[in-house]
Amino acid sequence: MKPNNIWSWTWKIGGAALLLIIAACSMTIDSIVQPASVNGGDILPVTLNVTITTNTTQTSNFMVAVLVPKVWNASKNATITFTSDISSGDQGMTLIPAGTPAPQGGGLDWPTLLATKIGNGGNLLPDYEWVAFYSNSSYSVAGNATIHATVSIKIKTSPDNLSFKLGYCVANSTDGLSGSDRYGSYFSSCFQVNGTGDLIDFCNPQLANIDPRTSLDNDIITLTFDGGVTPTTLDNATSVYLCVSGITDTGDSLSVCEQTNRTKMRPLGLNKWQIDLWPRKLFNLPDNKHLTGLRYYFTDAAGGSKVGYGGGSLPFTYTFKCQ
């Protein structure tokens, strides 16, 4: 390549990079006001204090996203507004429909881009979602300006008893998440909803869990025992079995506690075991009987070592529900 050509390309690449740097807003979440807990069904109020710094004039919509448990149905139950130095009064925001491509997102929509770039905040159960909102208006900002915005988020929680690490992100409709300085994000520590039913704990590794979280007795349910979470008497077991009682709608307790093929769990490695079962079949339920819940343990092949909740002697519990 001739020296002239090299200089020409250097200018072109340098110019493009300079343009990218200039034509950008940087955003930070400076502080957040969020309660440590709410009661199930209550409204969770959150305030984000945001600073936006511009390098050049830009006209964009403001974007705010929250990471929440799916069961809250935040796309219908969340309201987001904000105030700022460059607007007057509360500014409304509207849900960005799933499937809408995010700017500079390679075709990904906002929820997918947020999950890919920002993550899940360390929540351990997969039942979470990012829900993104755009401001109803677009805003022109001058170059070299510093703008403060106060975002007000209100989400109606579900009645469920759960702990979750909430996530927040602010960005704009031009830069998207194209650079780490173009957006601000924040994950809370474990937030608690004091609701009803078994605790849905997104924050701590679970010795046992059942998937799907919402099911009835005619579903196929998957029970997983993760012996890697804490030492138990099954640490050296070569096979693990389920010992389970079904509680019926008439209050009866039906027990299947045997070490046979129908209760044998398959090994997943690293002391993790799993079984898929159909509760109605397991308990031979007649048409007029239904299960309201399960109480269960895990045992070794001899049935002598029995591991329950927290590795202790009380059973794990599961409630059948569909909401």
Binding site: T214, L216, D217, N218, D219, R266, C322
Partner: protein, 140 residues
Amino acid sequence: MKKTFLLSAITALLLLACKPERLVAPGEPVKALNGSWQIIKATRNGADLTNRFDFSKFRIHFTDSSYSIDSLVPFIVSRGGKWAFDDPTYPFQLSFTPTDSSRKSSPLLYPVSAGQRNIIITFSPGCSLNSYQYTLQKAN
């Protein structure tokens, strides 16, 4: 004179040769389910359960308008009864009416895979928040 006669004869032959062909569009065959079908793939909320749960003995036997089930697994219905397509030529829904309960319908796909006709149905046997998709294929 001879030339005029020859020209007229050729023209007449050409006109006779232009008999319009009657094109009959090939008809879409009426879809039939008659026979026994087995589950070759099963998913719950997108997770593949095929090799995790024993679906191997399940059979659903279709006749002209009735069906029966052997070795039940969680399914759209639990009893035998009557079945119907929403449209026998272009079916998009498959409905089951068990003898002891009301009709239940499933969206239907009817693809051919590796030379075999499959039917794919989607339903919720338990909680309506959980979606199951079974792919059925004729059992030998």
